[in-house]
């Protein structure tokens, strides 16, 4: 082929895109610093907003005095609850099952504040500096109420109530049962009882939040720009809040600088900023700063779980009983109850455990609302199960790998129904295809499990404590209920996909373009993609639960398949022949006749324009839309093995080796899959070893900056990362794909916790979620008494 050959024709027949490590085209903009994040969007005419947030965890708001603020230079308005009208001022929450008490968050505090950071007033000024000056002059008269931040105290009768009208702080409960939930220990069975305490964390995407709002179309519509994982959900919320038809609202979401679940939420600011734009009839912008982000953006993970496992003498788990309480904070997040639902649904992971009785509760407290964070409740669930397995192995003196082998679900048992669930988008937990034992053995081998004791000894000779931890999980991914995509043949012969999946860093643009190029037999360069504009894609579901590639990719590819049908129909109509006589192959249409002519897709619009002169029936625009129903999520799984090394002189924990064997079904792009797993693991390492949100006894959030909240840095990456891909296609997805965005984090919690416990196995310690395992924690642990013998818990 010559240099002049157009790129589509250079593609050799049968070349594949799906499964290839294709580099990301979106990197070019990002590497040039032109990613187009929300703060980069033009907003020179916008007034700037500074939110006035509650400094009190729990108080009656007696008055908001704004005279001094109004007199400050450049101030345009100072607004409080009474100045803004909402038809519905409650933020949406999707996981309120029947019987749930309504503690949805209100957009702005009316008479009562329930957490530090809640919005009480809004200052609008010519720029952010002047808005901040004036915000400091807004005087709020609070009548303090006693704060309650501990969910275990808040759930008790007689505790201070956040919502006195409800009569309780326990606002939601969910059960998950399987087998015989009333199981009991038989003689000789081991009963393990443990309390797991998971600490409060937050996602900290590099990009804080922000909203730009303005009136468009002669003031008849509202345009809201927000980096959200859910533009269409936000549009519905805005329509409800303002009592407008949804088509009067346009939401556009620019590229996100990270999401990790905290942008799977409709936030007060996303309704308030447009409300201000409507009231003042001018564009306004609010950019969150990091300090307010810590209090104003949802938190995650905080739960207390009492677990009881009954284990037969041979190490097989008979049953698991868990009762737990989430510290939900002052109100529901969009999916704030999902983590505890996931606990019951997914706690058993790849292990048989035939009997389950899970009962979980949401408890409101004077803290920032809880929502999801990478993995939702699954990291806690996997950690809980894996800690119990290690404890059972220790007490029964069974090898840690062997006890897992005895409990793993065999491939012949799949698919396996694990019972009904309230998990949004799934109705029952029905495991799909897979081979858990093979994945497990692969990880052990790659991690050099068999020779680890020699490694431990060698480390001890150097004065270091080395430990190894194993964690498997099965993860609910690619959830429904449905997804929609639209695709159009452009006049220049390229295709444009209108996708429902937001780019949050996962490479969704590249994988969707790969799948469409693969389907159509064209070059990736011929596929463009747009997303995040509710005018273009009004009815999408969104970006969460590891569904971007598996569900979004599938629906885009199916839409492309529909587009082929449309193209062939149009070509047939144009040349007045039967569409059955035309064939689509290798990126173009084969026309019938003696010439057996092949027209590549790039030339089809031009060809149709020529043919249209003779056949009036050909439409101007060739488009297809596809809606994919997703009745069942698919279940990804993995085995993680962490090796940690503790320096008893400094308390520092290093991770010399980390191994993952995983199965996310058919892989679209191994480069990006690896990126998701490594990034997820390091995020999990940070959550277990570094990060913690701290409230003081007065209910104030003390961790308000990245200087206080220690994130994993470049030196925290495992020195030796080993990864093994398994590809068992799932029959629950049209293309055999499962999700992979969250798995790294899910596995890391259990693997790191077990490894730390193993390194410190001579000491009486609790690693049941009670992290983070900071150097201080390590040094204190090393002062503790050595462990006694293992047999006292036998029943």
């Amino acid at each position: 082929m010559t240099e002049e050959t157009p790129i589509y024709a250079r593609r050799s027949r049968g070349r594949r895109y799906a499964g290839e490590a294709v580099l990301r085209a979106e990197d070019e903009q990002l590497l040039r610093g032109a990613g187009g994040f929300l703060p980069d969007l033009p907003a020179s005419h916008a007034a700037e907003i500074c939110m006035v947030r509650s400094t009190q965890p729990h108080a009656i708001v007696r008055s908001v005095r704004r005279e001094r603020a109004l007199g400050s230079p450049g101030v345009i308005a100072v607004l409080a609850a009474d100045d803004l009208e909402f038809v519905d001022d409650a933020l949406p929450c999707v996981d309120m099952i029947p019987g749930t008490m309504d503690v949805r968050q209100r957009v702005i505090a009316r008479d009562r504040v329930r957490y530090v950071g809640q919005i009480v007033a809004i200052v609008v000024a010519e720029n952010r500096y002047l808005a901040e000056d004036a915000a400091a002059l807004v005087e709020i008269d609070y009548e303090p109420l006693p704060p309650i931040t501990d969910h275990m105290a808040a759930k008790e009768p007689g505790a201070t109530l956040l919502y006195p009208e409800l009569g309780t702080n326990v606002v939601y409960q969910v059960k998950q049962r399987d087998g015989n939930p009333d199981f009991a220990a038989r003689e000789g069975d081991l009963v393990i009882r443990k309390r797991f305490e998971f600490h409060r964390q937050t996602a900290i995407p590099m990009e804080p939040r922000g909203v730009i709002a303005k009136l468009i179309d002669n003031g008849e519509r509202v345009h809201v720009e927000s980096p959200t994982q859910l533009p269409q959900v936000l549009r519905s919320a805005l329509a409800g809040a303002f009592g407008l038809r949804p088509d009067r609202i346009r939401v556009t979401a620019p590229r996100l600088g990270g999401g990790f679940g905290c942008k799977e939420m409709v936030y007060p600011e996303e309704l308030l900023v447009p409300a201000v734009a409507r009231k003042l009839q001018r564009p306004v912008r609010w950019l969150e700063d990091r300090r307010e982000h810590f209090a104003a953006t949802t938190h995650a993970r905080e739960e207390t779980i009492d677990a009881e496992a009954v284990v037969a003498p041979d190490g097989t788990f008979v049953g698991l009983r868990i009762k737990g309480w989430a510290n939900t904070g002052a109100a529901y997040g969009f999916v704030g109850n999902t983590p505890i639902t996931a606990m019951g649904a997914m706690v058993r992971g790849p292990y048989r455990v035939p009997n389950l009785d899970s009962h979980m509760f949401s408890v409101v407290t004077n803290k920032t609302p809880l929502n999801v964070l990478r993995g939702a409740g699954a990291p806690q669930a996997a950690l809980l199960m894996e800690r119990l397995l290690d404890e059972a192995a220790r007490m029964l003196k069974i090898d840690r790998a062997e006890i897992r082998r005895r409990n793993l679900i065999q491939p012949s048992e799949l698919p396996l129904d694990r019972g009904r669930t309230e998990f949004a988008g799934a109705y029952s937990v029905l495991y799909d295809e897979g081979d858990y034992p093979r994945c497990f053995e692969a990880a052990l081998k790659l991690a050099e499990y068999e020779s680890f004791e020699a490694e431990r000894k060698a480390a001890a000779e150097r004065g270091k404590l080395r430990g190894l931890g194993i964690s498997m999980y099965v993860e609910i991914t690619a959830v429904g209920p449905s997804e929609t995509a639209r695709i159009a043949l452009q006049p220049d012969g390229t295709v444009l996909l209108y996708s429902s999946i937001m780019p949050v860093g996962q490479g969704s643009e590249t994988v969707q373009r790969q799948l469409i190029a693969e389907e159509l037999g064209i070059a990736m360069e011929q596929v463009a993609i747009r997303q995040g504009d509710t005018d273009e894609v009004p009815d999408a579901v969104g970006t969460f639960a590891s569904r971007g590639a598996a569900v979004g990719g599938a629906v885009g590819r199916l839409a492309a398949r529909e587009l082929v049908k449309r193209i062939v129909e149009c070509c047939a109509a144009a040349c007045a022949c039967d569409s059955a006589a035309l064939r689509w192959e290798f990126g173009g249409v084969k026309f019938p006749g003696p010439a057996d002519e092949f027209v590549p897709m790039a030339e089809i619009p031009a060809r149709l324009a020529t043919l249209r002169r003779v056949a009036e029936a050909t439409p101007e625009k060739i488009e297809a839309k596809y809606r994919l129903e997703v009745p069942r999520p698919s279940y990804a799984y993995a085995a993680h093995v962490a090796v940690v090394e503790i320096d008893p002189q400094t308390g520092r924990i290093e991770i010399p080796r980390y191994t993952v064997a995983h199965d996310c079904g058919k892989i679209i792009n191994p480069l990006l899959v690896e990126g998701q797993i490594v990034g997820g693991v390091v995020q999990g390492i940070g959550e277990v070893l570094r990060e913690r949100l701290v409230y003081d006894s007065a209910g104030d959030l003390k961790t308000r900056a990245m200087m206080d909240y220690v994130l994993p840095g470049p030196s925290d990456a495992p020195a030796d990362f080993r990864l093994w891909h398994m590809e068992t296609p799932t029959s629950f997805n049209p293309f055999g794909m499962r999700g992979v965005g969250e798995g790294g984090t899910i596995g890391a919690h259990g693997a790191i916790s077990n490894a730390v416990a193993d390194a410190l196995r001579d000491y009486e310690i609790a690693v049941e979620g009670s992290g983070p395992f900071t150097p201080t924690w390590v040094m204190e642990t090393l002062q503790r008494p050595r462990r006694a013998g293992p047999d006292e818990n036998r029943s």
Partner: protein
């Protein structure tokens, strides 16, 4: 000497009563002269007044590194200093390192190693790599870790960033770095 170009991001910094200082500074090789409020942050001056939005504000307190630029050849935070503090300095932002089109060598290596995901922190890392290349930092030295420790990335887990940075530093002649400089 020229006035900064009008940009779509330009903000009126308000209150005329506010103390202002005339600032003369070189930005990406162009002389810039502007009257700025004394309290204006350098990051806001570059992003909003000059429209140089490649640098990102991630934390506003010097902890994350997303706002890193070069001041007189040294990597520096732009979110924790005032614009007026840079009087007479030579400032280079990522825009000043970009090739006319496409990617320069360091950027290509970041793409090839998949060393970015959401891309919000990436401009800051690149500026630190450029400053390391200027100092001819040895790719296998401990010094690399000291430079990189000033940056946070929430997506990649750092493994691919290490690989891209070491690769860039191993091409010691630094000739791959193109731009207006």
């Amino acid at each position: 000497m020229t006035q900064p170009d009008a940009t779509p991001h330009k903000k009126e910094w308000g209150d005329p009563g506010e103390p202002r200082t005339r600032l003369r500074v070189s930005v990406n090789g162009k002389e810039v002269c502007a009257d700025v409020p004394d309290r204006l942050l350098l990051s806001d001056f570059l992003r909003d007044d000059l429209g140089l939005t490649a640098l990102k504000v991630g934390c506003g307190e010097g902890a994350c590194g997303a706002c890193t630029i070069l001041i007189d050849g040294e990597a520096a935070r732009s979110c924790t200093q005032l614009a007026v503090q840079t009087e007479g300095a030579e400032i280079v932002t990522l825009e000043g390192m970009n090739a006319a089109g496409g990617l320069n060598r360091v950027q290509q290596l970041f793409q090839q190693h998949h060393a970015l995901q959401c891309g919000y922190c990436t401009p800051g890392w690149l500026m630190t790599v450029y400053s390391m290349m200027k100092r001819s930092v040895c790719p296998d030295s401990e010094e690399v870790g000291r430079h990189l420790s000033g940056h946070i990335c929430r997506c990649t887990g750092y493994r691919n960033i290490w690989a891209a940075v070491r690769h860039a530093l191993s091409e010691t002649d630094g000739s791959g770095v193109t731009g207006e400089q």
